[in-house]
Symmetry: C2
Subunit: 219 residues, 2 copies
DNA sequence: TTCGTTGGTCAACGCTTGTTGGCAAAGGTA
DNA sequence: TACCTTTGCCAACAAGCGTTGACCAACGAA
């Protein structure tokens, strides 16, 4: 009778039923939570700060979302909005995808927040795995030559996309953060394109033991 | 007279002078700190836990490293051990570098820790910027065609390397975490190779408005 | 020996955290 | 009207945090 009916985030993408008087408050909490999680990461985003931003009492957060993790789960429902690639010439999918993700990352800071939380919090990491598997996976399966390879190719794509987001938007490496959109797209598009559509490379490229010459010390 | 002589981490890579009786304790603290920061990130790695791991009192940590941030700074002196590429045929530098970074990331978890902290903590991010600028930068300048482009190329390389480390070692995306070393190298080496040595791509690849067809909803 | 320095423990401080329960006002329904 | 549910605030809790200062034991030089 206690843990019931407390957390009632609508699981359906289109809720629209049973409007409550507190809907605006709930939305305010969620918005503030997204902002704080994005800016500060999971641990430093305190419930008190989120409540302050939302203009309500911290105890309301508990009432509507159960606990901090419940709030995080509710606040991190993310839609990558992967575009349909049916109409795109297959040799352009790399550029289209890179452009899309740059747009997406610049549009709101929820994605940056997802990254911040995913790195330090196991629940956040699980969330990211789900999101990328469910949203990136199908698209990759649709454009890559062998569907059996789709998961691996998706992981490669994710690695480059996330890596760039990390360098540009989170760590703010000066060259990565200041490079122009167009230049970035021109560099990254062929990478994504290859991960998606190229044949599997042979694995013989690896030179035998050229790593760490050992004797050379200083330049 | 108080804030002096408390933090005395030797700034030189080879300390070796003035051995103190407490050196083993200092080393134990540092080792425990590295492990905790790597496993838990900055906020959740508590001084108390680190002290417990090191088998001493929390106040010792304060005495030897001033405060938590000082401890972090001392614990995060990272050497990427970038190999000398002078003897490597320039068309193999991509494979050599990818191999090296995989080795490096698997050898110890300090790099994973650096990533974890860099994402949530500004001091950690600054640290990563320094490390990559100082250690990756010169190497890139040595192998890329136009030295003026070196910083941007280094950022691109860092984005792919960090992205893979993120997906494989931190977020543990199933395909990225389970892919074989050799396959990973075969996929990533050409990317790094191109970022380092290829000519600048033209920026006309970008199709005009193919993003988000808007009318298509469901598959 | 004596004395100053160093290595280390202990107990506590002020503060912030997530979380809880009580209580008052507002709204809806009968 | 009366009653019950919802919405919200307030005050407090137990626990954990980084940090501090007092105090004791061991050492090294005088």
């Amino acid at each position: 009778m206690k843990e019931d009916a407390v957390v009632d985030t609508p699981p359906t993408p289109a809720p629209a039923r049973a409007p409550r008087r507190s809907d605006v408050t709930r939305a305010a909490i969620l918005a503030a939570a997204r902002e704080r999680f994005a800016a500060d990461g999971y641990e430093r985003a305190t419930i008190r700060a989120i409540a302050r931003d939302a203009g309500i009492d911290p105890s309301m957060v508990m009432r509507y979302y159960g606990n901090k993790e419940g709030l995080f789960v509710a606040a991190s429902e993310i839609d990558l909005r992967i575009p349909r690639l049916g109409a795109v010439p297959s040799r352009h999918v790399g550029a289209v995808l890179v452009t899309h993700f740059l747009d997406r990352w610049e549009a709101d800071d929820v994605l940056t927040g997802m990254l911040r939380v995913g790195v330090t919090n196991e629940a956040g990491a699980e969330r990211m795995r789900e999101i990328f598997k469910a949203q990136l996976g199908p698209m990759v399966a649709g454009v890559c030559p062998d569907p059996a390879e789709a998961p691996r190719r998706a992981a490669l794509v994710a690695s480059q996309i996330l890596g760039m987001a990390l360098a540009r938007y989170v760590l703010r490496f000066p060259p990565a953060a200041t490079m122009s959109r167009d230049e970035l797209i021109a560099w990254l598009a062929p990478t994504i394109q290859r991960y998606l559509t190229a044949e599997r490379p042979e694995q013989s490229e690896r030179p035998d033991q050229p790593d760490q010459p050992e004797e050379l010390e200083e330049s």
